[in-house]
Symmetry: C2
Subunit: 192 residues, 2 copies
């Protein structure tokens, strides 16, 4: 998620990602990550709970960005349009670290345990969007459904973006995927 | 999921659910579950990998029902309408065990570990629906988005149904929630 800062946390995350790619996530130890980053294990554990969390350290910042962006959209906007603005902002941020995102996804794809953690991350983001919509006066089930729809669009657009190196504009892909969702849920109009 | 069969598996599941409600999921042991069911621990492990899986033994049958029902809808139907038929069939099946569903949900709500497992279950069901749509000739991203939308509707409708004992018709609630999703994704039409 986002750009690397040349601080201890960033160096540890980069070292971890390199090692996960070279040796596999399961085989890599915290001692090896710390050594590669030129830091101690103690420093590692000051920044991360375990080697799995290195891959999810950007989740809190991503959630903040989604909530802040959503909150800044005028409440007169339709909820789905407000959520679209938020996930486009998240996509723009993620896009600045495309190489990191691709390496991270390769590690996650190779480890079911990490896929589960990724599902939890996405569910947490959906819950945060739904809660923000409710605070803005959107009632359920609309708040929950809009948040789930937004995260579904984010997930599917991310998979498309990361799978195809020629797809450079992730925010634009978010918008296209949302249009596809609108067509898909409307029904009937896209069959051959 | 569904009706109890008076076999060993059903007796074990019912005993487990009673104990999870009485003592809590974490505190309950497999030995206690087996004893309550009048069976041995060995029999328990013939049917379930662990005490967590007792709560998810219906997932495979639910997936079969979704896939079979979706496959039986004519391919001329719009994907979202075909998926709606499938999740309504799942809702009709689940509705026959409402008390079980309510007890199960209370246990899950009280245990983050179980909520994670439930997320994995829902993601697995979405993947199965998407794969079935692809086999029926629906291309991506429509297949993935339609499956995600269907599972989002299922999840939100289930929460509404289980939270309100006066909401008796779960399949009807699925249809209403899908209509809400259509309104929500269309945007603009449901704001005060």
């Amino acid at each position: 998620m986002g750009r690397w800062e040349p601080n201890a946390q960033g160096r540890l995350a980069q070292a971890a990602l390199e090692l996960y790619g070279e040796r596999g996530f399961v085989q890599t130890t915290v001692a090896e990550i710390a050594k590669r980053a030129g830091l101690t294990e103690r420093t590692f554990f000051r920044h991360f709970a375990d080697k799995r969390e290195v891959l999810f350290w950007g989740a809190a910042a991503l959630q903040d960005l989604l909530v802040r962006t959503l909150d800044a959209v005028p409440v007169s906007a339709a909820p789905i349009d407000a959520v679209a603005v938020a996930i486009e902002a998240a996509a723009a941020e993620i896009q600045q670290g495309r190489e990191f995102s691709g390496q991270r996804q390769a590690v996650i794809d190779a480890n079911p345990e990490l896929q589960e953690r990724e599902l939890i991350k996405l569910a947490t983001l959906a819950a945060a969007l739904a809660e923000t919509l409710r605070r803005r006066g959107v009632t359920d089930p609309t708040a929950s459904l809009t948040a789930e729809a937004g995260i579904a669009v984010f997930k599917v657009a991310f998979e498309t973006w990361i799978a195809d190196p020629t797809r450079l504009d992730f925010p634009q892909l978010i918008r296209q995927t949302l249009d596809e969702l609108k067509k898909a849920t409307a029904g009937g109009s896209f069959r051959p």
